[in-house]
């Protein structure tokens, strides 16, 4: 994994106005980088703003404030059509619900080729067809499927179609918003294996948004934990699971049920109480150890650092 930044997100804010004095700060000042070739996992509970983050990055929403730099170029703000087109080719999205994200009245061929048509990537009908067949094979389907409609496919197969559609324009960066949570356990493993294999072959970079923490741990290189529109902790996947620092991360990790009855019988759940923080000081995102960032006040920062050193020396 290189240290080349593919995406830099700086102070991203997405506020929704609901009536005159009611603003929902769905995403409130996010700053993080995504390196080329890595999988960045974003976890949190429903309503924490993780999906909104993904959608703001890819411009499905116009962000309220902040910058998103893709290879050093700002993707937010006003753009003309050709600039947008160029950007849309580099960034694609895989959606959560494989049932509502595919147009039921289009054939698989047309669904997958839509991006190819828009960007003029195929010179003639023959080439278009060949491209679609190739994509279908890449995701583990076959070319006989091209003339069918989405309702003829199972959930796992549809998610493969969603992946094929995203791959059609040769993107470098894919945002996967809960791509497996609508699928059965055995099918989840198939899709995750496919995504990993494609990453290896094509050098893709993923932003993987999910609430299933064990799957996120498995697929991600680095993980960010969101709580109420803010990142509270960011670290390498191993580090985050071994040494969670922020109390919210700890509580989230302690809530995951594991398929291990004896462990479950002895499990102690940690409950997060937001009032344990000192509210007189605005918390900041600080690096408590190498590549390990936590949202904390200056006093908590000292404590966390001490704790961290203790765990390292032990």
């Amino acid at each position: 994994m290189s240290q080349e930044k593919l995406l830099e997100i700086k102070n991203l804010k997405q506020h929704f106005k609901l009536g005159r004095n009611n603003v929902v700060k769905a995403v409130d000042g996010l700053t993080f980088d995504i390196y080329k070739g890595e999988t960045f996992g974003l976890v949190g509970e429903s309503g924490c703003g993780k999906s909104t983050t993904g959608r703001s990055i890819i411009r499905l929403y116009n962000s309220t404030d902040g910058e998103v730099l893709f290879k050093g170029e700002n993707v937010q703000g006003k753009k003309n059509k050709s600039e947008l087109k160029k950007f849309n080719r580099q960034m694609q999205m895989i959606f959560q619900d494989p049932y509502s994200s595919l147009n039921p009245r289009m054939t698989v061929m047309d669904i997958i080729a839509e991006g190819i048509d828009i960007h003029g990537l195929a010179k003639n009908a023959e080439e278009r067809k060949a491209k679609v067949y190739e994509l279908l094979e890449t995701v583990g389907l076959n070319k006989e499927h091209a003339n069918r409609y989405p309702h003829e496919f199972s959930g796992g197969q549809r998610q493969r179609l969603g992946i094929a559609r995203a791959l059609a324009v040769d993107p470098e960066f894919i945002i996967a918003d809960e791509p497996i949570s609508a699928l059965d356990v055995s099918i989840q493993a198939q899709v995750v294996n496919l995504m990993k294999q494609l990453q290896k072959e094509k050098g893709l970079t993923y932003l993987f948004i999910a609430h299933d923490l064990s799957m996120v741990k498995y697929i991600s290189d680095r993980i960010g934990v969101m709580y109420f529109g803010k990142l509270v902790e960011l670290a390498d996947a191993e580090e985050l699971y071994k040494n969670p620092v922020h109390p919210y991360t700890r509580s989230l990790l302690s809530a995951i049920p594991l398929p291990d009855p004896i462990y479950e019988r002895n499990r102690k759940r940690i409950v997060y109480d937001p009032s344990q923080h000192d509210t007189s000081e605005e918390p900041e995102f600080r690096e408590i150890g190498p590549r390990h960032w936590v949202l904390c006040t200056s006093k908590e920062f000292e404590e966390y650092k001490k704790e961290k050193q203790n765990t390292v020396t032990n």
Binding site: V185, P257, P259, D260, P261
Partner: protein, 350 residues
């Protein structure tokens, strides 16, 4: 019926009539439910786990769904033969259900308190005032704060976790002897899920009901269940105590399910995925329904359905691999590693 059994299901077969033919959703399921225990039924969508419980509750969609064969004994009565009117006396009172989606299983136009009181008024012959007192008691039991004012509110004023608590309170209203929970935590966040699971275990201790817990999440199963039944293509393929099924799984499908979940410690390159998709139940395969996806399949798997082989007094699995003439097959590496790693966690917690 055996003495400590509260429910006995014998060779239950449920089918649906559709345009393209008869879908055999449940193809001969037998199990019993003991007093005060939690039985988890796991399986993928389409494995027949929800249909089985709908048959128990007499809630099969009419007129397409019907019990084709078999019996469900409750109180020495076969409830598949009961008339709707008699079934209504059982449903909600003796057997209650918690549904998956708390957003759709509550009536959005009715106050929460009224919905909880509905069952009390119908089954318990309580007066309005008494029912109200009982409803407040129930809301306290499921830990909804300020029940007096909350019961005057509508479902949309409740969060997902709170709504599921309301649904649980409704189900518990008449002190049911059997509680069927169909994926009660699937729509909830992990932290809320943990709360609801703790609540259900707590309540079970207090009111001593038996629970049938349907889920596809093996982590949840490990947390709540005393016994586990694994379903595939309309049949139970393995049943045993939770320790037996998790630490000594015998059926290749169970291996697949366990192997396809990443562990928090694992850093293996690839997950053990079960190839292919479940069979079409309009024309189920002749032999073992899992054979086509099973790399350990024997020739006989494609010809004849395996019976339930006994592993221990409580542990049974339907796979020819347990036949005495079958070659000895070890579970795949990833599953063995997982079980070994779980032994470690056992030491660590002690």
């Amino acid at each position: 019926m055996k003495k400590d059994n509260i429910l006995e299901v014998n060779d239950l077969k449920v089918s649906f009539k559709t345009h393209s033919g008869e879908v055999q959703a449940v193809r001969g399921v037998s199990f019993d439910l003991k007093k005060g225990e939690t039985l988890a039924i796991v399986g993928e969508s389409g494995s027949g786990k929800s249909v089985t419980t709908k048959a128990l509750m007499g809630l099969l969609p009419q007129p397409h769904g019907f019990v084709k064969e078999g019996s469900i004994l409750f109180d020495d009565k076969d409830i598949t033969k009961l008339k709707e009117k008699n079934m209504q006396a059982i449903r909600g009172k003796e057997m209650a259900m918690i549904f998956q989606d708390p957003m759709t299983s509550l009536n959005p136009t009715m106050k929460v308190g009224t919905q909880i009181m509905e069952g009390l008024l119908k089954h318990q012959n309580l007066g309005k005032e008494e029912a109200k007192i009982k409803a407040i008691e129930l809301m306290n039991l499921v830990q909804i704060p300020n029940p007096e004012s909350r019961m005057k509110q509508y479902p949309h004023q409740f969060s997902g976790g709170m709504r599921q608590r309301v649904v649980i309170a409704m189900a518990l209203a008449c002190n049911p002897r059997v509680l069927i929970a169909d994926e009660p935590t699937t729509a909830l966040d992990v932290t809320i899920q943990a709360q609801i699971l703790e609540l259900m275990k707590d309540i079970q201790k207090k009111v001593d009901t038996s629970i049938i817990f349907i889920t596809h999440d093996l982590g949840v199963v490990a947390n709540v269940a005393d016994r586990v039944a694994v379903m595939y293509a309309g049949k139970i393929v393995e049943i045993g105590t939770v320790d037996e099924v998790f630490y000594n799984p015998k059926h290749p499908y169970t291996w697949g399910l366990l192997g396809s979940m990443p562990t928090l410690e694992s850093d293996e390159e690839e997950l053990f995925a079960i190839p292919g998709t479940p069979p079409d139940l309009i024309a189920p395969p002749k032999g073992d329904a899992f054979a086509a996806r099973n790399k350990f399949a024997l020739e006989i798997d494609f010809v004849e359905q395996p019976p339930m082989f006994k592993v221990s007094d409580t542990h049974y699995a339907a796979t020819w691999l347990l036949h005495e003439d079958a070659p000895k097959v070890e579970p795949p590496e990833s599953v063995k590693k997982r079980i070994e790693s779980m032994d470690h966690s056992e030491e660590a917690t002690r």
